[in-house]
């Protein structure tokens, strides 16, 4: 009830502005005033939202009608004081999680976020293991064709042969 009242007050406060249809929560913050910050946030949000009719393009990059509508809407909501999380939730409610260009970093989607790091660790572990296993052995005999006192020159000449 409190929420509803608060929402109504805020709407009344924003008299003249069109009511934000479809929003079920109230803005968490007062409307921001820094124009540059509003633009930066709106673009960043649109970059993370998929253009519904494109192939892999974000709503910030496409001129398709629905992408433009999403872009405009994101900016409106930023201006009204909604947080990024609230705005993202709003779009998920309308289009599904599918509208996010990258899955959320929570729940079972951690599978996709952690996999690359895991792969890197596994591979790095394998390389480390090999180096560890070879640690006792002597350095391999140089198969260099060239003989020289200067190790660098020697290496270069050696490579020329290969």
């Amino acid at each position: 009830m409190r929420t509803l009242l608060l929402a109504l007050t805020l709407w009344a406060g924003a008299a003249g502005a069109a009511p934000l249809t479809g929003m079920t929560v109230e803005p968490a913050n007062p409307p921001p005033t820094d124009e540059a910050a509003i633009q930066t946030r709106s673009i960043a949000l649109a970059k993370g939202l998929r253009c519904p009719v494109c192939q892999g393009l974000s709503s910030a990059d496409s001129q398709a009608e629905s992408a433009v509508a999403i872009r405009v809407r994101a900016e409106e909501l930023v201006r009204a004081g909604y947080t990024d999380a609230q705005i993202t939730d709003y779009f998920i409610d309308r289009y599904g999680e599918w509208v996010l260009l990258a899955p959320p970093t929570s729940g079972h989607h951690l599978m996709v976020w952690l996999a690359p790091g895991l792969a890197l660790l596994l591979g790095g572990g394998a390389i480390g293991g090999m180096a560890w296993a070879a640690r006792g052995k002597a350095a391999p005999a140089e198969v260099s064709a060239a003989t020289s006192d200067d190790p660098y020159r020697k290496r270069v000449l050696d490579e020329l042969e290969g």
Binding site: Q55, G96, L101, M111, V112, L120, A134, P140, L160
Partner: protein, 650 residues
């Protein structure tokens, strides 16, 4: 008429390649030179039949013979001849015919190059190629039937996809990419043959390396042209969108790049043999998977044609090849490993190569997993999600930074053991130059850390590569004397592949800097200009001198004529346009791009009112041209290394 001829020819190709499997198989098992000779002839026959078949299809396309089903599907009387020619690969059936042709040509070239090789190993490779060719010609004969006769023949057709008609690059991007994609079959076949025979001698390895370098050049060029095409045509001011199909082309590129570096170690140090062969095999599997991603309609992509029975067939083929090559790798890999188990010095070039492989493999895994994850999620949880640019960029950035750092460090270290003192001496000057470039860029007022970092790394890499290119000349001058020019020429002749590699490294550094700068410092805006008015935007003055409608046979081109000035100096005219195709209800824009050394100016029409105002979306992007220059250097460097030596026939 053409239908019958085409049907005949593709059946002939199918028979030749099916017979080829048997004959090459016999040649491989018996090590028979006679059978090998016959297998080669069958490979030439298949190539000839498919060349003629493709010729027949081109003839039908150019003469608008709508009694051929593929022509009825993509042809149109209004289509100009050049676009009729390239519409061979504008739709599914034709592109599979083209796939088969390219594969048959590669197979014939391979048969020719290995005519004097040992029959056993060369024939095993031919078996692999012919199995692949049987699959593709089988598709053309059974389910993707471009030559199917149509009766009664329609009077006209819809014409090819308008997006493909929009730019001449469509004439070169797909064939180039195909040359890279399909060509992967050759190194794959060679790797499988090496595993099956258990023989991997220096000669075979050199030859495999040369083929891989060719394939890599084409693949790189194909990806580059694809990026360029989307930049010049799609009108959103970008060249890469992490579309599933772009990812599909990146995947084998990453693993093949890893394989080529691993091949260096394998041929110089006789190590990682099974790993190198596995990487080559995986690269081929990824091209198959990529073709599947492109063509099956399972992935959301600008390229996927409609769902068709080809999808399941293709998937079955992928499954068979996957299981088959896994079995060969698992059961035979110990046969190719030679000598002592490897030992590693932590600071050595070998370890840098290992790290390069680790990062590239992780990169490839990330792109693959990210691309199929929506399918995984759909299969397990039943919900639809997207994995796009923000995900891939998150991982691509750090992995690329690591790879770039290796590009400078690796060549500075020696094989075997490098003492800390030597390493420090080798790295000091390049690192110092890199620091100067990075800090200098930051001090010059470039915002963010990305561009200064990329500039620093680029300077580091370029210094190392230039030194490495000059070093053999200096060393030879000191040792052997002679004129500088003579020694430069000698160094290029003696170590073309090594010099080529460093050119490719320099290209990579330039491209990386260009990608970082153009993506992080892109400025965009929307401008509306009334006729004969001038509007300023980001330091540029745009004068709109009017619009113009040009009626072409297959479309109406409605363009806005703009004159661009900067600081009162005229830079030139830009003509972004809208195209109205008879077959499309929605207009398609063609952006105008002005390439400048420091930055590109890019205009895309949003709204153009006849004899009224124009609204354009404008983009300023620094250093974009350097991406194409760097990319071309990569291609050039690899091609230099791939070009066959006079003395050695692989």
């Amino acid at each position: 008429m053409i239908s019958t001829l085409g049907q005949l020819l593709i059946h002939a190709a199918l028979i030749a390649s099916a017979a080829g499997i048997v004959v090459s198989g016999v040649a491989a098992v018996r090590d028979s030179a006679q059978a090998h000779a016959l297998a080669r002839r069958l490979a030439y026959a298949a190539a000839a039949a498919l060349t003629l078949a493709t010729g027949a299809m081109e003839w039908a396309l150019i003469t608008h013979d709508f009694s051929v089903s593929y022509v009825a599907e993509v042809g149109s009387l209004a289509t100009p001849p050049i676009i009729s020619v390239v519409s061979l690969w504008s739709s599914l059936d034709g592109s599979i015919l083209f796939w088969a042709l390219v594969l048959a040509l590669y197979q014939a070239a391979f048969a020719w190059r290995t005519r004097d090789a040992q029959p056993r190993i060369a024939s095993w490779a031919l078996v692999m190629l012919q199995i692949t060719l049987v699959f593709f010609t089988g598709l053309v004969v059974s389910v993707a039937t471009p030559f199917a006769p149509l009766s009664p023949a329609p009077l006209d057709g819809p014409g090819p996809n308008a997006l493909l008609q929009n730019h001449l690059l469509m004439a070169i991007h797909p064939p180039t990419l195909y040359l890279g994609y399909v060509g992967m079959a050759v190194p794959f076949a060679m790797a499988m043959a090496a595993l099956l025979t258990g023989r991997l001698d220096a000669h075979w390895m050199r030859s495999m390396r040369a083929w891989s370098l060719w394939v890599w050049s084409f693949l790189t060029l194909g990806i580059l042209l694809g990026g360029w095409w989307s930049y010049e045509v799609l009108g959103w001011g970008g060249y890469w969108a992490w579309d599933p199909v772009e990812n599909a082309s990146l995947l084998p590129w990453l693993t093949l790049t890893a394989a080529m570096h691993s091949l260096v170690v394998t041929s110089r140090r006789r190590r990682f043999r099974s790993w190198t062969l596995s990487l080559i095999i995986v690269s081929f599997l990824l091209t198959l998977l990529g073709t599947f991603m492109t063509r099956s309609g399972v992935f959301n992509s600008v390229h996927s044609f409609t769902q068709s029975p080809i999808g399941p067939l293709f998937l079955s083929f992928i499954a068979i090849v996957l299981v088959g090559s896994l079995a060969v790798v698992a059961l035979r890999l110990d046969k190719v490993e030679v000598g002592d188990p490897p030992s590693y010095q932590p600071v050595s070039r070998e370890v840098m190569f290992l790290l390069n492989n680790l990062l590239l493999s992780t990169f490839a895994f990330t792109v693959l997993y990210g691309s199929v994850y929506p399918l995984v999620n759909q299969a397990i949880f039943g919900s639809q999600i997207s994995v796009g640019g923000p995900y891939f960029e998150r991982f691509a950035a750090p992995l690329s930074i690591g790879l770039l750092a290796l590009l400078g460090v690796g060549p500075s270290l020696s094989w075997g053991r490098t003492g800390p003192g030597t390493a420090a001496r080798q790295l000091a000057a390049p690192v110092a130059l890199g620091l100067v470039a990075g800090v200098g860029t930051a001090l010059a007022g470039v915002s963010g850390w990305g561009v200064p970092l990329a500039a620093g790394l680029a300077a580091f890499i370029v210094t190392v590569s230039l030194r490495e290119m000059a070093a053999p000349v200096m060393a030879a001058l000191r040792k052997e004397g002679g004129t500088t020019a003579a020694q430069v020429a000698r160094a290029w002749l003696r170590s073309r592949r090594r010099q080529g590699a460093h050119i490719a490294h320099i290209g990579t550094a330039i491209a990386a800097l260009a990608i970082t700068a153009s993506s992080s410092h892109k400025v965009e805006g929307e401008i509306t200009i009334e006729p004969q008015q001038t509007v300023s935007w980001e330091g540029y003055d745009f004068t709109f001198t009017g619009d113009e409608q040009v009626r072409q046979s297959y479309r109406i081109n409605h363009r806005a004529n703009l004159i661009v000035r900067r600081a009162a100096a005229e830079l030139g005219a830009m003509e972004p346009s809208m195209n109205y195709y008879a077959t499309m209800s929605q207009p398609l824009g063609t952006p105008a791009v002005m390439n400048r050394v420091s930055e590109d100016l890019y205009l895309s029409v949003v709204r153009l009112v006849p004899e009224g105002s124009v609204t354009v979306r404008a983009y300023r992007q620094p250093l974009v041209v350097w991406l194409w220059i760097g990319g071309m250097l990569m291609v050039l460097g690899a091609a230099l290394g791939a070009w066959p030596k006079r003395d050695a026939r692989p």
